[in-house]
Structures are given as C-alpha cells and as structure tokens.
C-alpha cells in the first residue's frame, strides 16, 4: 500500500472513531408529562430553553405543516428559530394560513394568503414564541408552531411521553408549551446516556 493511501485510510478511520465518540457523548432527555386540569397530555412541546453563550445555526431542513381534511397536520410543530416551515394545502378547497400574533406580540402577525391544492408556501420563523395558525374561512381549524431557541425539542405523544435526542452533556432548563396550560420550567442535567425529567403542566 502506498504511504499516501495509508495516511488517508488512517485519517478516515480516526475521524470515524472521533465522531462515534462524540455521538456517544450526546445523551437524551426523556420523560412523561402529566397534566392537571387539561384534557390531554398529547401535543405538548417540551424543549431546552436558551443556553447562555450558545448559538445554533438555522437548520436547512424545511418541515411541512399540512392542511388536510380541513385540519392542520401536525396540530403542534416545534421548530428551532430560523427554520423555514413550508405550508402545504392538500385539500381541494381554498385555505389560507395566518397568525394574529406570536406569543401575544401582534406586530409579528402575518397572513400568507391563499394557494391551491398541492402547492406550498414557505415562511422563516426568526422570532421565538408560539404561533397560533388559523384559516380565515374555516375558523374551526387551528394549529401551532412553537419556535424555540435550541435544536433540542420534542412533542408529547398521546400518553404524554417525550424524548429529546442528541443533547450534549450539560445543565439545562427544560420548558413546556401547551395549548391551554401554563408554562412549566424544570432544571435537568444530562450527564450519562439518558436523563429523565417528568413534568407537570397545569391549566
């Protein structure tokens, strides 16, 4: 084997080992959200709040918020600040998407207009907060996009379980957002592979 090829192979193996070690360092936060006074523990956003002196690049992926059978799908979506969300109309009826505020700030209201079936329209969310999505012809429709400062987030399943993956070791503040509940804040430390944090969300 030529020395040059040997050096390249050695570098590749070394890089792979380094990456695997890095991956093994990242842990996950999992747990269960229980509710008091709310109908369900489903669709509650759980996320790691802003980390001091830590900035995250906006992700390239563009999640899709669908309008299907006159509902927003998913009902709750969590994205990192800077994410572009694509809004799809899968219905043969006219819809629009607008939000009257972001976390109560009416200056951030926006109306995306109307577009036909099968087409998408994108919007980049640069302000953190909860975005209540509405359709002005079908007022029964509602959905939420929760814009959070970190890439560490999850949405609870119907039993209230959540799992946030690839969280580096450290001490964090865990926060919740829910449609009708108050914000719950809880400290959590990721030291090993899995940190467990059960949360209670009250109305």
């Amino acid at each position: 084997m030529e020395p040059c090829k040997l050096a390249v192979k050695g570098f590749t193996v070394g890089l792979a080992l380094f990456l695997m070690a890095g991956a093994s360092l990242a842990g996950e936060i999992k747990g269960k959200v229980s509710v008091q006074g709310l109908k369900s523990a489903e669709n509650i956003a759980v996320y790691v709040d802003a980390i001091p002196d830590k900035k995250f690049e906006a992700p390239a992926a563009k999640p899709v918020m669908d309008q299907r059978k006159m509902t927003f799908v998913p009902h709750v979506m969590v994205v990192q600040v800077g994410t572009t969300v694509e809004f799809l109309n899968s219905d043969p009826v006219g819809h629009n998407v607008y939000w009257p505020s972001i976390s109560g700030n009416k200056k951030l209201s926006h109306n995306l207009g109307t577009w036909p079936k099968g087409e998408k329209k994108g919007f980049q969310f640069n302000d953190p907060g909860a975005v209540g999505l509405l359709c002005n012809v079908h007022p029964e429709m509602s959905g939420y996009i929760v814009v959070v400062p970190t890439p560490y987030f999850a949405v609870t399943d119907k039993n209230g379980n959540y799992e946030i993956k690839n969280v580096p070791p450290g001490k964090y503040t865990l926060k919740t957002w829910s449609e009708d509940g108050k914000v719950t804040t809880q400290a959590v430390e990721v030291a090993g592979a899995t940190a467990t944090a059960d949360l209670v969300v009250k109305k």
Partner: protein
Amino acid sequence: MLASILVILGLASLLVMVPRGHAIPAFSRKYQTSCTTCHSNFPELNDFGEAFKKNGFKFPKDDETFVKQEPVLLGSKAQKEAFPEAVYPGEIPGALPIAFRYSGTFAVNASQPSGVNQTASFIPRTDIFQPNTFTIISAGSFGQNLSFWIDDDISTGGSGGMGGLGDGYLKYNDLGRFFHLPLNSLNVRFGQFELDLPFTQARTIYLSDFDVYDQMNVAGATGTTNNPFALGTPQRAIEFGGYPNNGNFAWSVAVTNGGNDGPALRSNKDVYFRASYKFNLERDRESRAAIQAAGPTGPRDHTSIRLGGFFYHGRNVQNIASTLPLFSGLGSFSEPFYRAGGDLRFKYRHLELFALGMVGHDDNHLVLTDTTGAQTLVKAPAITYTGGFAGTNYWVFPWLIGTMRYDFVNSPTDFFNGVSKDRTRNRFSPGFQVLVRANIKILGEYSYTWESPVTNVSGNTVFYRPNSFLTGIDYVF
C-alpha cells in the same frame, strides 16, 4: 272598500305565513366545520356554499374525505353490479341530520295618527318578539346523487301559532350523466320549494320580505282578477335545472301547481323558467376556475357580475270552488297571467350590490248583469304592476354587515283600491347584522315605508307611514 280590505288582508297574511328556510348546522356536524365555510352571513351562501348546494349538499371535490360522520350504507357499493337483481345501494346520514333555528324580533312601530279607530286598525307602539319563530330543518344526501331538504316552522307568532312547511324536496343530481352531459348540467327535483328565484326570500338575510315577491294581482272593483299567486311563496313543483360551465351558467324550468304552498286550485299547471350567467371577473385564471377566489389574505367570493332573467306563466281559473268571488251565473273562465323580470348582482371584495325589476300582468274581465239578472263576461283592462328592489350589503368586518335596500311596487289597481296614498309604494330599509358567533346573529332593520290607509273614528280614511324598526336575535344549532 271590500276589495281593498281583501288586498290588505292578502298581503298581510302572506307576510305572516310565508315560511322561511334556513342555514343548516346539520352540515356543520357532518363535516365538523364552521357555518362560515358556506355562509359569509347566514343564511346567505358564499361561493363555496353555492357550490356545495349545487352539488347536492356535497363538497364539490372529494366529498367522502371530508365527511367526519360516516354514513350508514343501505347496501354495499358492490351491489351496483348486481342491479337489477338487487336493490340499488344507497346511504343515509350517519347521524340524524337535524338542525333548529329560532328567531325573534322586537318591533318599534310608528305612532298612528290621532283619531284612528283603534278597534279596527290598532298597531302597538312596541311589540316584543313578534314574529317569533322556531324552525326544524333537515337536509343531507342519500348517496352519490340524491339529496333532500325539509324545513318546517314548528311555530310562528308565539305560543300555539301555526307554522308550516317551507321547502320539502328530493333532488336527483347529475341526471345528465346518462346523456354524457357535463357534471350537474341536468338535475331534477320534486316537492315543494321556493322557485329558482334570483334572490331568495326563503333564505334571505333580511328581516322583511321583498315587497314585489309578495305582490298579488287583485282587481277588486276593477274586474274579476283575484290571483293568489305570489312569486316569493314556495310552490309545489317538478323542476329541471343545471349549472354547466363551472356553475357560471344556471338554468331551470319548473312545472308548478301555481297554488303557492297549498294544493292545486285548478287543473292546469304553470311554468317557470329562469336563466342566469355569472361573469367571473377574477384576473387570475387559476383563481377564476377555483370554487373561491384566492385573495391576498385568504379565499373569498369571486369578483363577479351575474345577470339573469325569469318568466312565469300561468292560467288563473276563476269561478271554481277554490276561488273567490264566485259569479253564480257564469261557468269557470280562465285568466292567463305572467310575471317577468331581470336581475343583476355584483360582488367585489366586501361589497355586494343587487337589483331586480319585474312586471306582472293578469288578464281581467268585467261581469255585466243585464236587467233580467243574466251575467255576461267581457274583457277588461289587464291588472298589471311593475316593481323591484335594489340594495347593497357591505362587510365592515367579517362579523359586522351593513345593509340597505329599496323596494318599490307600482300597482295602479292597488292604488285605485286604496291600498296606498301614492301609486308607487316605496320602502327604504337600512339595517345592520352582527354575527355574535358564526351561528348567532343580532340584527336590526328600519323600514321607512309608503303611506298606508287607516280608518279614523269618523269613518274616514287617513294615510300615514307605518314605519317600523325591527331588531332581534337569530340563532341556529
């Protein structure tokens, strides 16, 4: 005098008795969607609601995917192949498609002139919840092509008041598929229903009727004509109609009893024809073809102008058991009549303008009695009228609508018979409507109306304007 009383009573009874159809929350439940999907101001339909209705109370596209209450199948769809050896499969709504409506108004009436004979012509200054109507509505579809509608005022005018059936019909959509015609170009419906009028009275947003729709030709002292037909009243009929060209062209031909919503008053049938064309003025081609236009802030009704015309022809047979007055010395005789008119509607964003003009014409006779008492019939000048209305609705907000309407009826015969002080009966009706919720409405309407006759204590006729302000609540569930 008797004639004028008959005319007034006739008009008044119509105002009270004409049943109204309504918005239909049963569809809200079936599709789990808000009233605003089909109504910008219930019960008036928006473009989507029009398309839904024209399609046999189904979503214009992919209806099955939107139904949240699954229907009960009356035979599997595969049984179509077994037909005629098996009953053709159908379906009924999964949940009972029932809805209710209550409407009640508070009236403030103008003061009557001093000296009015209160025993004959009393109108209270205020009247709480009159009219006061509770209605049951049922509508839906029986599978792919059959749909139905029934609305019945269970009570009107308070406790024990008599209501009545408004519309009750069965419709077969897209009969034209057997002849390879475009979708919904040929449909048929049977039953009792409001004719395909340019502007619905049964499902109007206004508190008052369109005056010209209630006009009946009664000759009184000027002849034999005594025609109970009123265009705005539901008729028992068979109607063929369709909506080709993306629903922009609409036509209908109905064969009716001509007896309003009662049984046949005569053996012959009447015919009603209507055609209209909606010129879609949306610039964007894709938006033009869609059910609703794509506005910068959401779907909305198309900017459009609709022009239409209608014609009703019938023969009012006089001197038969069901008509009054009777002329004992004569056999039955026929008095052909027609109603014809044109209409216009313009929609632009939050603004709606509309107008209708029409004429009514009834053949008329005089009964001459000679010295021996024998009666003979001679042709007399026809009983005619012209009339119409024009108005505008403006959505200040999606929940606040301002309305303005002008109605007029020019009936020389009514004038001669003392129904009004002037030949033309004019009425201006400004109003407002507030959607407190999508299914609850507070509304008000002021009527500045023509001068009507009342009798004073001396037995003389005096005229005054019976203006009124109606405000009330209207809710459906």
